[in-house]
């Protein structure tokens, strides 16, 4: 009996069930805290017509950028893109549909999706192209637009440590969107640097409680740095 043991033995098993046309939420900010091996597994499987929700879309040859090489992404919700030549090209050719989404709204769409809130009102984007065609309501004399939650068929997450029950902690700013993504997947897969015994992680320090997590795998990571800035 597996009980609460969420561990899987391979990346193939970790992404079992992903199909063409699915929606995948991915953690990470730039190249920081991205589920790099789960992305590589999606590439290996060659599934197409994916809808991705992620703050960015990686760079040429790394992160979500690798899914552009075989045109696996049809649509992406992101706040900032185009840091890769291939992305720009596919955007200009209309090979990929880009739904530019304010960063805080994207985070809240995921948070709401995981929390069973179908939509919310935010002042962000009111009076801008982002607000066009969206319901507007006034509260206390201020205008807000309605934004809908987002959920994924899969959520792919990069954590630092997890126990086999799927309790996860993140390291430094590699946290970013990961805990939100983790709550909003029908199937949530978390890859971590280390799997520890239940009880080793301090319960009050857990960022993502195991209830959100379906599969856990330990991997090794390149952790590429996008902008290396040093002091003195």
């Amino acid at each position: 009996m597996a009980g609460f043991d969420k561990r899987v033995a391979s990346y193939a098993e970790a992404m079992e069930g992903i199909e063409d046309g699915m929606t995948v939420l991915a953690g990470g900010f730039g190249l920081c805290g991205i589920p790099e091996n789960l992305i590589a597994e999606i590439k290996r499987r060659g599934v197409k017509n994916l809808t991705i929700a992620s703050n960015n879309c990686g760079v040429d040859g790394f992160g979500l950028g690798v899914l552009l090489e075989d045109r696996q992404i049809r649509k992406i919700f992101a706040s900032y893109v185009g840091e890769n030549a291939l992305f720009e090209q596919q955007m200009l050719n209309d090979d990929i549909e880009v739904v530019l989404t304010p960063q805080g709204t994207l985070a809240e769409k995921m948070r709401a999706g995981g929390a069973g809130i179908p939509a919310f009102y935010t002042a962000t984007g009111y009076g801008t192209p982002i607000g066009e065609g969206k319901e507007v309501r006034e509260f206390n004399g201020r205008h807000y637009i309605m934004e809908e939650a987002i959920v994924g068929d899969f959520a792919i997450v990069k954590g630092w440590k997890a126990d086999r029950y799927g309790n996860v902690v993140y390291r430094h700013t590699a946290q970013n969107f990961n805990p939100l993504v983790a709550t909003a997947g029908k199937i949530t897969v978390v890859e971590v640097e280390e799997i520890v015994e239940p009880g080793e992680l301090e319960p009050s320090q857990i960022h993502t409680p195991g209830i959100y997590v379906d599969r856990i795998i330990q991997g090794s990571f390149e952790k590429r740095i996008e902008k290396r800035t040093v002091h003195g």
Binding site: C32, A107, P129, T173, R224, I225
Partner: protein, 221 residues
Amino acid sequence: MALTREQMAQRVARELEDGFYVNLGIGIPTLVANYIPEGIDVMLQSENGLLGMGRFPTEEELDADMINAGKETVTARPGAAIFSSAESFAMIRGGHVDLTVLGAFEVDQNGNIASWMVPGKLIKGMGGAMDLVAGAENIICTMTHASKHGESKLLEQCTLPLTGAGCINRVLTDLAYLEIKDGAFVLKERAPRVSIDEIIEKTAGKLIVPDHVPEMTFVEA
């Protein structure tokens, strides 16, 4: 003389107050961190989930898991906190950040700002800028007063798609420091040896010029 980027950062830094939580955008706003006045303590918020951003790391401290919103490697100062993107934008949208400094392409006399999209050019996205301008009560926009061709960027009405509506109340350009109030730019200070006539000429929006407009002063480095 128009202000240099460094002087613009110095001037903005004078608006910092002890105990302020501050979000600095990319470009000139980032430079403000180099001019925090002696004797005051501010915490820098980076919207990827860091409150209490420190200096750049040494080679030994370099850590791929420790970046700022510009994706540069940074450190966390003592007393910093790290959290998720949802938490970060709860702070921002909820009005808990005391001061936001960000760049713009255009602002207008009604406090509208355009900073993210030039139609016909490649659009990379707004990142966190729309949330920042929607959430902050206290925003300083840093920008050049006019384009290289002399066209004003301080307008009656923004021509580019907006980042936010009616949210900007202060602008620092390379020529002047202005407040936006009741549908007009109010000239508060001018750059050293910049004439009021030049500012009038390069301001397309409604401009109110008080009787006395002091020149900014800078200590030579």
